[in-house]
């Protein structure tokens, strides 16, 4: 298994369960055990995630990646000891940040919902292969503060326009996470809690209906009450 397997959700889970720091040890850059050079992608993910932590108000130093080979026990020991020292210096999660456990949990839960969106929105950057320096601090600005702020504040949402939806069920069938409530003859509704913002629905909604809109950074209008969900057939109206 490659360090590239480390998913943002693993780190999130650890922090939301109250861990004080997460350390990722990866192979040396350009010395891939596979042919995929996945460690560059781990690095990108860490760089993004440090910015996210910063945005949430958690000290980004709580997440660290270091590169080493399986034969370098001393490097591992030094790196871990140094990390432990850093974390001890920072203090328990939440304390220096001035947040209690439930606040952190709630904030991270919001981020957790956005992970699929982050992966889609930053797909190219997350897969790029940077020039290799082992000191990842040199890459601090691969993801800038402003960029991540914008990413998290101008979140995309998808919304089905009740006037346009013809209840054809296409979007519901294709939604990878079953987030679309679809009843025959009733306009479809996106369950915003389940939605992962992948945009599949907008792609598959038949162009003649074009019922789905992409909203950027604005609230999604509430769905119509249950008794007003009958489809307005285009043909019949005319």
């Amino acid at each position: 298994m490659c360090s590239g397997r480390v998913d943002m959700s693993f780190i999130l889970r650890a922090f939301s369960k109250g861990i004080d720091g997460v350390f990722i040890g990866a192979c040396h850059l350009n010395e891939c055990n596979y042919v995929t050079h996945g460690n560059f992608q781990t690095l990108n993910m860490v760089l993004l995630f440090r910015r996210i932590l910063e945005y949430v108000g958690i000290n980004p130093e709580r997440l660290r990646i270091r590169f080493m080979s399986g034969a370098e026990a001393n490097v591992f020991v030094e790196s871990v000891n140094d990390f432990v020292k850093t974390i001890r210096g920072i203090g328990p999660l939440g304390k220096p940040e001035g947040m209690d456990k439930s606040t952190i949990e709630a904030k991270l839960a919001e981020i957790a919902k956005l992970i699929p969106y982050l992966k889609v929105a930053k797909r190219e950057k997350l897969a790029q292969r940077l020039d290799s320096h082992e000191e990842y601090e040199k890459y601090e600005d691969v993801f800038t503060k402003e960029e991540v702020k914008q990413l998290l504040e101008e979140v995309v949402s998808y919304y089905i326009d009740p006037k346009k939806c013809q209840a054809c069920m296409t979007c519901a069938r294709r939604c990878p996470v079953d987030a679309i409530i679809s009843v025959k003859g009733q306009i479809h509704i996106i369950d915003q809690d389940k939605c992962i913002k992948c945009g599949t629905c907008i792609q598959v909604c038949p162009p003649r209906f074009a019922a789905i809109t992409k909203l950027v950074g604005e609230p999604v209008p509430p769905p119509p009450p249950e008794d007003q969900r009958a489809v307005v057939r285009k043909g019949k109206e005319g």
């Binding site: 590239g4 042919v35 889609v120």
Partner: protein, 924 residues
């Protein structure tokens, strides 16, 4: 006793004898009982002659502390007779000993070390645990000099006339590592030619050169004095610009070369093989792995000054040739394992058994094992837990299988050492008990715990609890997985009928496998058809004729001429390749593929090539020499220009063979017309290894070698001869020795044109799903460790398709590729791991993020009624799991490392924390 020792190294700790550690160049000490080095195989201890008991019949402490009774001090050396069908000699080389020449001051000045000493200093398992320290004051040196060619390229008493081939590159590596240790370190390399002739070495050289504080100085040197107080060492050298200078360094590293292996004469006598004048094995130029005695093979540095990849070529190659001899007996001594049928436990609730290993005293004296066992019993789903002295011992494995049956366990956790060493063994134990092997989970409480927390016993015990709790949680999530057996088609396809392809074909066919040899031209032979002799004097055309005859006469080899590959599909053991040739279009099924498509020659656009017929490539020159072309043989002045079309921005590599090709042509010409003035304009003469002798011979025969710099390339224009007004090519070049422009009236100019990747390279890479290096040659699976294979299973590589190389090297590699191909073809099945990716099609949104990152080509987007969906080819999947973290929807998952399995460990780690916090809160 090897079968009893578990490598726990408690004996090492108690051994009272310290003596200089030979492995660490005697810089630090080791014990009389010790493991040879950190990666030794087997990784167990042995006792050497410094043992007190062996010397004085005293001590026996190790015997007493060994909990597995693995030490038997009464063992006597015994003679064994083993009947074998063949022998491979691979004794390696002996590092040059600089003590035999006092001017190196080795052993006299404390801070003069050899590159072998320095190698150990750099190493994290070295004498100072990876700190570079000076012998005189145990301080870090900041200003270090390397002196190249120590014991090499010298025709003096005690020196070697040949080039040791590896020192330029290892010195660069040492400089880079030094900068890693200490970013401000100053590194100075005093060198002659920089011989960065290997694959990617030129880039490596540039990388070193561009590091701040690294200087390359082309100069001979002498070590003049040691400062009596600081013990710094002064080196005297000279440069063209500044004349003779002296400079002080904190440490001087002698880049020592290779001597023949110690006692090589005795070995030669014993095994009956001949030595060449330098003391290495005398090689057959058409098969460097055989000796004059049938059945005795050589590999590695006994062949001469080989670097690692070439040693590996020759090792696999010698193996393959032995396969040819002994193919009829293959498998006779192998025995098949039979396992009981596997029980279906997927519907059962998890019933976990935990086995906690003491590892002798390794774990037991730090971690409180009995208490940990009790703790395990409190964990959810754990129905059984026990301790074991050594879980890896045969009786302990039996105990595990017994307990699985007795207690009805369906998951097993062993808390012991690293899964890297013992996971295969314990998986096997589960299979023995009729349980799916993927129900096994390992908690590493040794390397990750007792070894690093030896002074924190309580915390270590607590950590053992944490690690085991995580493993138990994960074990409950595990699913049974099937490894699948793929049948292996016993035939091989070889693309390319040059020297590489033909030798590889013969070796595979001689082991009883059918071979399809696909050649794009109408004739076999490849680029070798244009080569007449080698530097060493092999008649290449005669050799080629004989080789081609062998191919056509071999009943198992099918040759396709004028062939093109139109399609290639399939995977390891089961390829299907469509070939159109003079035989029409055919579909070939085969289990292994070998890529041996060779290379092309650069057509120069510089130095009037193609405009003036007096300008030709080195191969064209060779052709004309052989054909006794009068214009060439009667030339008064002949100029050769090296590095045409490579070592530049377009082709950032060295073509490796051209320096020797030019020296060869020069010697041939001097033979035929001793009066001819020959000038070789070069950047670095890269006549590595024994080819150095020919370089020296050429210089002795008055071939003039003039070095030029890339920014001041030679200029060439038609003109008239200075003395006789004959039409000549005026070649102008800066001569750094004279410090002036030199104008040569050349009658003939030969260009050492670069070797470039074959035009078909990219197409073949796509067909066989293999990758290319930055320079456009095929990229092997691992530069050093797997130099004849691709990362794509079942596809192998040899010859110039890999990188420019000499015929002898090509033959080594061709046999090497055959040897690796045989390790596949000799099997009836290949087993593919159960831990591969799987896609939940419903959740796949068809974005292709996973496909993009999977360089193994295991993932593919296919159109379905529900849009594009990813399909996994489990045979190609290597289980790195990168795709998982790319997938936005969680549709793709790596079996055995699923999100749920990993998250369960994170949760289990932190659940304790939560409950302890709650306890704290309750108490507070």
């Amino acid at each position: 006793m090897e079968d009893k020792c578990t490598g726990c190294t408690v004996c090492v700790e108690y051994c009272p004898v310290s003596y200089p550690d030979k492995y660490n160049q005697e810089i630090s000490d080791n014990k009389a009982v010790h493991v040879y080095f950190a990666q030794a195989i087997p990784l167990i201890t042995y006792i050497d002659e410094s043992c007190l008991y062996l010397k004085e019949k005293k001590c026996r402490i190790c015997e007493a502390v060994c909990k597995n009774n693995a030490i038997d001090l009464s063992q006597e050396p015994e003679k064994k007779e083993i009947n074998v069908g063949a022998v491979i000699l691979s004794p390696g080389f002996e590092p040059f000993d600089p003590k035999i020449r006092s001017e190196y001051r080795y052993g006299e000045f404390q801070n003069v070390v050899t590159s072998m000493d320095y190698e150990r200093l750099l190493c994290s398992t070295g004498p100072y645990g990876g700190e570079i320290l000076r012998a005189s004051d145990r301080k870090h040196p900041h200003n270090i000099a390397w002196i190249q060619c120590v014991g090499s390229r010298q025709v003096i008493e005690g020196g070697n006339s040949y080039c040791s081939a590896v020192c330029c590159t290892y010195t660069q590596k040492q400089a880079i590592l030094t900068k890693d240790h200490d970013a401000d370190a100053k590194c100075t390399i005093f060198h002659n030619d920089i011989r960065a002739y290997g694959k990617d070495f030129e880039r490596f050289y540039q990388r070193t050169e561009n590091l701040p504080g690294v200087r390359f100085i082309r100069s001979y040197t002498s070590i003049v004095r040691e400062d009596p107080i600081t013990k710094n060492v002064t080196v005297r050298y000279s440069t063209f610009d500044e004349g003779v200078k002296e400079e002080e360094f904190d440490m001087v590293v002698l880049s020592i070369g290779m001597d023949p292996p110690k006692d090589v004469e005795e070995m030669a006598k014993k095994f009956g093989f001949e030595l060449e004048p330098h003391g290495f094995c005398r090689l057959d130029p058409t098969n460097p792995m055989i000796t004059n005695r049938p059945g005795i093979f050589v590999s590695g540095a006994l062949q001469g000054t080989l670097d690692i990849p070439e040693s590996v070529f020759s090792a696999s190659g010698a193996g393959s040739q032995i396969g040819e001899m002994l193919a009829y007996r293959r498998g006779n001594l192998a025995r098949e394992r039979i396992y009981p049928p596997e029980k279906d436990l997927s519907q059962e609730e998890p019933r976990v058994g935990v086995f906690v290993c003491h590892c002798g005293a390794n774990i037991g004296r730090i971690v409180n094992v009995p208490e940990t066992v009790e703790y395990c019993k409190t964990l959810p789903n754990v129905v059984y837990a026990q301790e074991q002295l050594f879980s890896c011992a045969t009786n302990s494995a039996k105990e595990i299988t017994d307990m699985i049956q007795e207690k009805g366990l369906n998951r097993v956790v062993v808390a012991a050492c690293s899964p890297r060493t013992l996971e295969p063994l314990f998986r096997d134990t589960l299979r023995e008990a009729g349980i799916n092997q993927y129900y096994y989970e390992m908690a590493n409480i040794r390397e990750h715990n007792s070894w690093v927390h030896s002074k924190e016993k309580e915390e270590a015990t607590q950590k053992a609890h944490d690690l085991i709790r995580m493993s138990v949680a994960r074990a409950c999530e595990l699913e049974p997985l099937q490894e699948f057996d793929l049948p292996v088609d016993k035939r091989a396809l070889i693309v390319g009928g040059g020297i590489a392809g033909m030798n590889c074909a013969l070796s595979i066919a001689n082991q009883g496998h059918e071979v399809y040899l696909v050649e794009k031209d109408a004739e076999l032979g490849g680029i070798a058809r244009k080569i007449h002799t080698t530097l060493e004097g092999l008649d290449v055309q005669a050799y080629l004729k004989e080789l081609i005859e062998k191919i056509y006469q071999h009943p198992l080899i099918h040759v396709y001429h004028n062939a093109t590959i139109t399609e290639a599909t399939g995977y390891v053991g089961n390829f299907l390749t469509k070939v159109t040739s003079e035989r029409g279009a055919v579909e070939i099924k085969h289990g292994a593929s070998v890529i041996a498509i060779g290379s092309d020659l650069y057509t120069p656009t510089e130095y009037l090539y193609g405009e003036d017929e007096r300008v030709m490539t080195h191969l064209e020159l060779e052709e004309k020499i052989v054909n006794e072309d009068e214009k060439v043989l009667n030339a008064q002045n002949l100029v050769m220009i090296q590095c045409v079309g490579c070592r530049n921005e377009d082709r950032n590599y060295c073509s490796r063979i051209c320096c020797s090709e030019s020296v060869k042509n020069a010697l041939l010409l001097k033979e035929k017309n001793p009066k001819m003035d020959i000038y070789i304009l070069f950047r670095d003469m890269r006549t590595y290894g024994f080819k150095e002798d020919y370089y020296r011979e050429a210089a002795n025969r008055d071939v003039k070698f003039i070095r030029y710099e890339p920014q001041e390339k030679p200029q060439i224009e038609p003109g008239e001869g200075e003395e006789d007004g004959r039409p000549v090519l005026k070649v102008t070049v800066m001569d750094y020795v004279l410090g002036d422009q030199l104008v040569i009236d050349a009658d003939i100019v030969a260009l050492a044109a670069a070797v470039i990747p074959s035009a078909a390279t990219k197409e073949m890479a796509n067909f066989f799903k293999v990758t290319l290096s930055p320079d456009g040659f095929f990229k092997e699976a691992h530069v050093k460790l797997r130099p004849v294979e691709f990362a794509t299973d079942g596809v192998y590589l040899c010859g110039m398709a890999h990188y420019p190389k000499f015929i002898q090297e090509t033959i080594n590699q061709a046999y090497g590729a055959a040897g690796r191909a045989l390790t596949l073809l000799a099997n009836d099945i290949v087993v593919a791991s159960g831990s591969v990716c799987v896609v939940d099609e419903k959740r796949c949104m068809g974005c292709g993020a996973c496909v993009e990152v999977c360089t193994y080509g295991a993932l593919e987007l296919r159109d379905t009624k529900q849009g594009k969906k990813v399909v996994v080819n489990p045979v190609l999947c290597k289980g790195d799991g990168l795709c998982n973290s790319k997938c936005p929807t969680g549709a793709i998952s790596l079996k055995h490392y699923t999100d749920d399995e990993i998250l369960s460990e994170i949760d289990a780690l932190l659940q304790e924390e939560e409950s302890s916090q709650q306890n704290d809160a309750a108490v507070g």
